[in-house]
Amino acid sequence: MPLLTGGLVAVVGAVVLAAAGGSYLGSTIAIGLGYAVTTVGMVVQLGYSKQLAFSQSVFMGVGAYGTGILETRYGLTSGEAVLATIGLGLVGSLVIGGIVTRAPGLALALATLLLPLFLYPLATFSSYLGSFTGIEGIAPLWNDASYATMLVRSGIVIAIVLGLATAAALRVMRSGVGLQLMAMSEDERLAAGLGASLRQRRLEVFVFGSVLATVGGALVASSQGLVTPDILAEPAEITLLIMVFVAGRKSVVAAIGGAVVIEYLTTSSAFISTNLTTFEAIALVLVLLLEPDGVAGLVGRGGRALRGRLANRGAAGAVAASDAAGSPDAAVAP
């Protein structure tokens, strides 16, 4: 089932990008899918495991800057740079995660909230990282003489990576480890009593979310052709959180939709992009008040209500049929 869903995500993404051709819309969707790789990881980390870590934009920065530096300073190809960056993200998240996941609950939140406060000025003042303007000239994932072909093929690569990320996230959530993570999210002491290794699981979740964020950052930088320090600032994390929490923090598919839709809205029209923050705020409040699990929760609730109504109608039909047949037992059967 995870593989099937992941495959479906990849195919739908690829078809949409192919249909969009080399248009501006196609480019926007490709960037949105890059963000979606990060938001898929956030579903596992923040939504499913309730790990209070706000470091995803920082790891996106690691991915984006890593790809940019390896390509422009060390001459690696786009694919090599992305792969090397994933390795960098893995090692980095293991090192940082090994330290930060020692801090429990709100302490972890505070520690990760501090990261942008010193990494953003570091990137801004560091000439190695390109100072205020960042790093330009990052190559796309699939180079081609034709801009449109390059855009479509690079986009399809991103869709395939997103499909793999989706499958991995669903696999984690539906495994025994996922069950332990859910138990930990409800009550850590109880989960420990049931045999879950809290530190190990915390670290695994942190690494999973961070590596996907690194991949997302690398893909977005490749799509945009540049990286700036803004990716490390607080607003970048805020955008990611809105993508996940409005769409549905516990649904992988919703998080993908949230990333693509918000990325699209950011560039769709001057009016929307100017007032996007206000719309996001209203959407966030309404969604959280009506259903803390976001739009996906609302859809799920609507679906359950509809199924319940259909089931009742079916039962009523069965009762009517059994009454007609004169069977008193059938009338009290559930």
Binding site: L46, K50, L52, I99, V100, R102, A103, P104, G105, L106, A107, A109, L110, A111, L113, L114, L115, L117, F118, P121, L122, F125, E234, P235, I238, L241, I242, F245, T274, N275, L276, T277, T278, F279, E280, A281, I282, L284, V285, L288, L289, P292
Partner: protein, 294 residues
């Protein structure tokens, strides 16, 4: 020596700002177990509102400030009534992360978005209460607005301490965040405390922003950074000790100024916040978070 004293004065001024915002966050968290991530936006609204009324519409300064503060208080009251009351007082489920962070985060976004649409992106300040050049004693310089900031921080600190330490109402406010059921059993209206302290801290943040704005200009996006610095200082005070939050805020401001003066002007934030990060992850006990529900 004079260089050190000047840096110290600058640090105390910046620290007083951090401290007051941190205290506002801590006292409200103490009552509601919710982080007020919109506290910086209330300050920004205070400054831009007074700047607009007094400098563009040419209202009298005192009237501008009064109208502005009433407006900020009303906004906070409405948000509590329309959103927090609905989310926290009627909901049966404890939504954890959503409750702690996201309602006030949404408010912050909303204020920022509307301010951008209405007032644009200009950097503005409220008129100074105490005009004139920096005060000088030998080589020691201190800005007049800085002195007002420090004075106001001291008054706020004393008032908060008196309220929490010496009144039954202050004890009741603390009890609200400890046990909702326990407070209902003894007749404490936790929702009422949450609402009025939310309004009071919003107005206080706005007033503080107005007083300090001649030193630091404000724009529509100034709020989140102020809130984040406040959260960091409040975090080192277990999120619920306003007195300690003021002290931590002061310490942060002084450390920032001294690092800027003696180590690196560009990298002072990098060094300070990296050090705080290391402190949290290697010694999380310094936060004293054991009693904070997570």
């Amino acid at each position: 020596m004079s260089n050190f004293l000047n840096l110290l004065a600058a640090g105390v001024t910046a620290g007083a700002i951090y401290g007051v915002f941190a205290a506002c966050i801590a006292i409200w968290f103490r009552v509601s177990n919710v982080l007020n991530l919109a506290i910086g936006d209330f300050a920004m609204l205070g400054v831009l509102g007074v700047a607009e009324l007094s400098q563009v519409d040419h209202w009298n300064l005192a009237v501008s400030i009064l109208v502005d503060l009433v407006g900020v208080g009303l906004l906070a009251w409405l948000f509590d009534w329309l959103v927090l009351h609905f989310a926290l007082d009627r909901g049966q489920a404890d939504h954890g992360i959503v409750t702690v962070f996201f309602y006030t985060f949404a408010l912050s976004l909303g204020i920022e978005g509307v301010t951008l649409a209405v007032l644009g992106t200009d950097v503005r300040s409220a008129p100074a209460f105490w005009n004139g050049p920096a005060l000088e004693v030998a080589d020691f310089h201190v800005q007049r607005a800085g002195l007002l900031v420090i004075g106001l921080a001291i008054v706020v600190g004393i008032l908060l301490w008196t309220y929490l330490r010496t009144t039954v109402s202050g004890r009741a406010a603390s009890a609200c965040g400890e046990s909702v059921i326990g407070s209902r059993i003894v007749g404490i209206d936790a929702a009422r405390y949450r609402r009025w302290l939310f309004v009071a801290t919003a107005v206080l943040a706005a007033l503080f922003g107005i007083v300090e704005s001649p030193m630091n200009g404000f724009t529509y996006s100034s709020g989140p950074t102020i809130s984040l610095l406040g959260v960091v200082a409040a975090g080192f005070a277990a999120f619920r000790r306003p007195g300690r939050a003021v002290v931590i805020g002061l310490a942060l401001g002084i450390a920032e100024a001294l690092i800027g003066g003696y180590v690196s002007t560009s990298y002072n934030d990098v060094i300070l916040y990296a050090a705080l990060f290391a402190l949290i992850v290697f010694q999380p006990r310094v936060l004293g978070l054991s009693t904070v529900p997570t």
